[in-house]
């Protein structure tokens, strides 16, 4: 599982960083930064799903690794 950020939609609510800091870091302006290029570490799929489901701006989506260029 891999997460993608839409930085046009994101307004820095920081819900993803609060819920899943193993997947999302945050910069000095409070904007999210993907750790591991968004690849979700094993066992953290539920946290990734919660981060997605709590984004007020619908700025996060998930793709399966097989869908992405990194495979």
């Amino acid at each position: 599982m891999k997460v993608l950020l839409d930085l046009e939609r994101c307004q820095g609510h920081n819900r993803c960083y609060a819920i899943a800091p193993e997947i999302f870091d945050v910069d000095d302006y409070g904007m999210p930064v993907l750790l591991q290029d968004g690849v979700v570490p094993d066992g953290l799929q539920d946290k990734a799903a919660l981060a997605i489901a709590n984004c007020p701006e619908f700025a996060i989506t998930a793709v399966e690794p097989t869908d992405s260029a990194e495979g």
Binding site: Q11, G12, N14, A18, N54
Partner: protein, 405 residues
């Protein structure tokens, strides 16, 4: 201060968000309007609209083409300050200027800047609670969770951040009352209130120019957009914003959360027993009791929900009403402290997302945690003792609770 309008005749055609019965009955008013007239109107304030559905509130929040943020508080006075800067940047600013004005302040309110403040907020809460234990003992177990607790927390935090004297707390609450509650008064009263606020800010700014130090006021005095220092009006406007925006909003969120726990013993005892639920509980309390309704002025004629909105009409953005719209949330009327999926709009949507949301969340969470640690068992001392704020910020202003040993 007395209203120039008087009691509301009908919520769909004559609403007034600053009449006391609005905030006291907000959930019932929104529910009634959702079923009958989802975009209400009033001729008060020279014309204002009140959309109550999640769909319309988010549509307007995202639409900076037809709506300006030049003024975000619906009052008897439409400010003359020109877009895109407005009177209190960045909340009063429109694109593209908004982005630069906001970027100046974002670092001070980013998660990593706010996290280290937790120990100070906790110490402040504990010190207030220490005094309340004594007060309760002297008063038959009754304390006021709004007056003796909630109202003090954000005032102390923001005076520290701005570098303003902590002993001016009562003065700050007076300014907040004038700006956000004294909205349906005569213009002379409104201008006098703004003059008092302006003179105070001027005095603090001059003091900071003489004695610069590590606080937000000094930071704004030295801030630049590109190579240009901020204008005098920009600096003072941003200070007004920081002083006003975080006080009664956070105070309201803390008060409403404690009111819920005082009246829902199952949620209260579950939260005491399962403190790991605190993160979802706080988000759920913010959803259902969101304190902040924003406003816009119409910039270009537009139709919303079949209603013709004309240039310079006011439009309220009741995020709290959107948050309890069953079209957007399952079991929208219920508080589920373990609600896992919660895309609530308590801090707004779009480019004006509340700048202080990380600080507000920290204050609300720590305030509730510490209150429950000091008083794990408490209940409302009597519903007649609860009074509500008036205007766009909704929360209890008196909240007598009985502490059970």
């Amino acid at each position: 201060m007395t209203s120039i309008y008087g009691p509301v005749a009908d919520w769909a055609t004559d609403f007034d968000h600053a009449e006391p019965e609005y905030n006291a009955n907000a959930h019932e008013v929104w529910k009634e309007l959702r079923g009958t007239c989802p975009v209400a109107h009033t001729d008060r304030y020279e014309g204002a609209w009140l959309p109550v559905t999640h769909e319309h509130v988010s549509q307007i929040a995202y639409d900076t083409e037809h709506f300006t943020s030049r003024s975000v508080v619906v009052t008897t006075y439409r400010p003359l300050a020109e877009a895109p800067v407005g009177n209190a940047p960045p909340i009063s600013s429109d694109p593209p200027f908004h982005r630069d004005a906001r970027r100046i302040l974002l670092p001070a309110f980013s998660p990593k800047a706010i996290e280290p403040m937790e120990k100070d907020v906790r110490a402040l809460c504990r010190s207030l609670l220490f005094d309340m234990v004594e007060a309760a003992a002297a008063n038959g177990g009754i304390v006021d969770a709004a007056v003796q607790y909630a109202q003090h927390i954000p005032v102390s935090v923001i005076s520290l951040m701005l570098g303003f004297p902590a002993e001016d707390a009562e003065l700050f609450r007076g300014f907040v009352h004038d700006v956000v509650e004294g909205v349906n008064v005569g213009l002379d009263q409104r201008f006098a209130a703004f003059q008092r606020l302006g003179e105070y800010i001027e005095q603090q700014v001059l003091e900071h120019i003489e004695n610069p130090r590590d606080d937000l006021t000094t930071y704004l005095l030295n801030a630049k957009i590109g190579d240009e220092p901020l204008t005098v009006g920009h600096v003072r406007g941003s200070i007004v914003l920081l002083l006003i925006a975080g006080i009664d909003t956070t105070w309201s969120a803390i008060g409403s959360s404690l009111l819920h726990l005082a009246t829902h013993p199952d949620d209260r005892s579950r939260l005491v027993a399962e403190p790991e639920l605190m993160p979802t509980a706080i988000e759920e309390l913010l959803r259902v009791y969101a304190p902040v309704t924003m406003a816009r002025l119409v910039k270009a004629d537009v139709e919303i929900g079949g209603c013709p909105m004309k240039v310079d009409d006011w439009v309220l953005l009741p995020f709290p009403a959107a948050n309890v719209d069953p079209a957007a949330f399952e079991r929208a009327d219920e508080v589920l402290i373990d609600r896992a999926e919660n895309r609530h709009l308590a801090f707004g949507l779009g480019i004006h997302r509340c700048l202080g949301s990380n600080l507000a969340r920290l204050e609300v969470r720590v305030a509730v945690e510490e209150f429950l640690a000091a008083f794990p068992d408490f209940e409302l001392a009597g519903p007649e003792g609860v009074t509500w704020s008036v205007g766009q910020i909704r929360g209890p202003r008196t909240l007598p609770v009985r502490i059970n040993a």
